[in-house]
Amino acid sequence: MKKPVALKVLDIVTIIALLGATAMVFFYAPIERVMGAVQKVFYFHVAAGWVGMLSFLFAAVAGIIFLVKKKKIWDLVGVAAVEIGIIFIFINIVTGSIWARPIWNTWWTWDPRLTTATIMELVYIAYLMLRQGIDDPERRARFGAVYAIVGFLSVPLTFFSIRIFRTIHPVVIAGSDPTAVGTFDMTPAMFQTLMVGIVVFSILFVDLVWHRIRLGQLANQVEEMKFNLQD
């Protein structure tokens, strides 16, 4: 199963885009007045968080389509989205922690966004553990789809519940509560860098998911060949 040309092109585009975005973060975006260089983590943090949520949506939608159409490819899409999503959310949590340390002098804050991100991570991991415990591939796919849907619906509800508490998470977009510690106003250059970062991470996400799906398909082919040999 040769790598399709589109994927090869995407790989190159992704690498270039990543280099470009990183360059933007370090050379184009200005250094923030109050927080200093550590604020640059913000670009990766938000982009990773955004993509993490996107992959959650991917997995839930793939789950719904699988339950309706019963085509195996959608199960593979769901698994790929979850596995890659785990990585992005992890980056989101860790960069969030790195950012929090110098600003609030703590490695962890129980504010809504960080907490919800961690819960999302736990749901992802539970998803993988569920699949691991089931031997029948058809059942594994069905259950995965169901849990992806359930998880996707519950996480925003969780966020909403926690939100009703006071938050110390920086409210970044200008115009909101100015007393929240850690706020900063974004210059146009910062805004552009952020948007580019989000787009680039999304491209990276698609690239990785595509690779993961191919990996799954190749694995399936191997399994099938093994069975045919046995006969």
């Binding site: 819960i119 736990l122 749901v123 415990g133 089931i134 031997d135 619906l153 926690i162």
Partner: protein, 234 residues
């Protein structure tokens, strides 16, 4: 054997099937006494552990009671859910249910309703015991309402997830891992509402939490109802 007095409808009525399942679970529990006693003993043990793990002098205790109660309910609940579905799986009874000409969702609602009743019964026993142990009356209609609403959401998703977990190899540890992260919205609302009630806040202030509980219950129950088929059918 001419069954002259027997009438077969096209599909057995939804409510009849559902209540047949509920009744069956209730009778089985009255006989076996496994579910409620296990949940109860576990709940009491958790309360005792909390007593030693946390410094519960009267001042801090009132702040913590809501939390302790709901942690207890959450953990004991998984025992009940696991057991309830395991009974069906182990003796092949789930097949028996699936062979009947009934809507699968009738089975789901029957099991959930039974599980809900068990959880509320356990809570009804735990509340007075807690009151006695700590010489403080925590029983009130408002708190009972919170428990009823909170358990509903818990059981709605819990029954669905337990049906999946029971079919996996890692059955026993899997249910809590699957359930706890997604049940957090219900838990948060229930704890905040309970804490408010126990601290004597006026009910109008807690309106938000009650509304949230109801919204969650509706959402979780609808979702579970829609996907249950996929979980039991092959």
């Amino acid at each position: 054997m001419q069954p002259g007095s027997i009438r077969l409808n096209t599909k057995t009525s939804f409510t009849k099937a559902m209540f047949a399942v509920v009744w069956k679970d209730l009778i089985a529990e009255v006989r076996g006494k496994e579910l409620i006693s296990a949940m109860l003993v576990f709940a009491l043990l958790v309360i005792f552990i909390f007593n030693f793990a946390l410094e519960l002098d009267p001042k801090t205790r009132s702040a913590l009671t809501a939390g302790i109660l709901w942690v207890t309910i959450t953990f004991a609940g998984t025992l009940g859910l696991n057991r309830s579905m395991a009974v069906e799986k182990d003796r092949g009874c789930l097949d028996g249910l699936l062979l009947a000409p009934v809507d699968r969702t009738a089975i789901y609602f029957g099991k959930s309703l039974a599980n809900w009743i068990f959880m509320v019964i356990v809570a009804l026993i735990v509340l007075p015991i807690y009151s006695i142990l700590y010489n403080t009356n925590i029983i009130s209609p408002a708190l009972l309402l919170v428990i009823v609403l909170g358990s509903e959401g818990y059981v709605a998703i819990g029954t669905l997830l337990a049906s999946m977990a029971v079919q996996a190899r890692t059955r026993d540890i899997l249910l809590p891992i699957l359930l706890f992260p997604v049940i957090l919205p219900v838990l948060i609302a229930a704890v905040k509402a309970s804490a408010g009630i126990l601290n004597g806040f006026p009910l109008e202030d807690l309106q938000t939490w009650f509304n949230l509980l109801i919204v969650y219950d509706i959402i979780f129950t609808s979702v579970a109802f829609m996907v249950f088929d996929s979980v039991v059918e092959e």
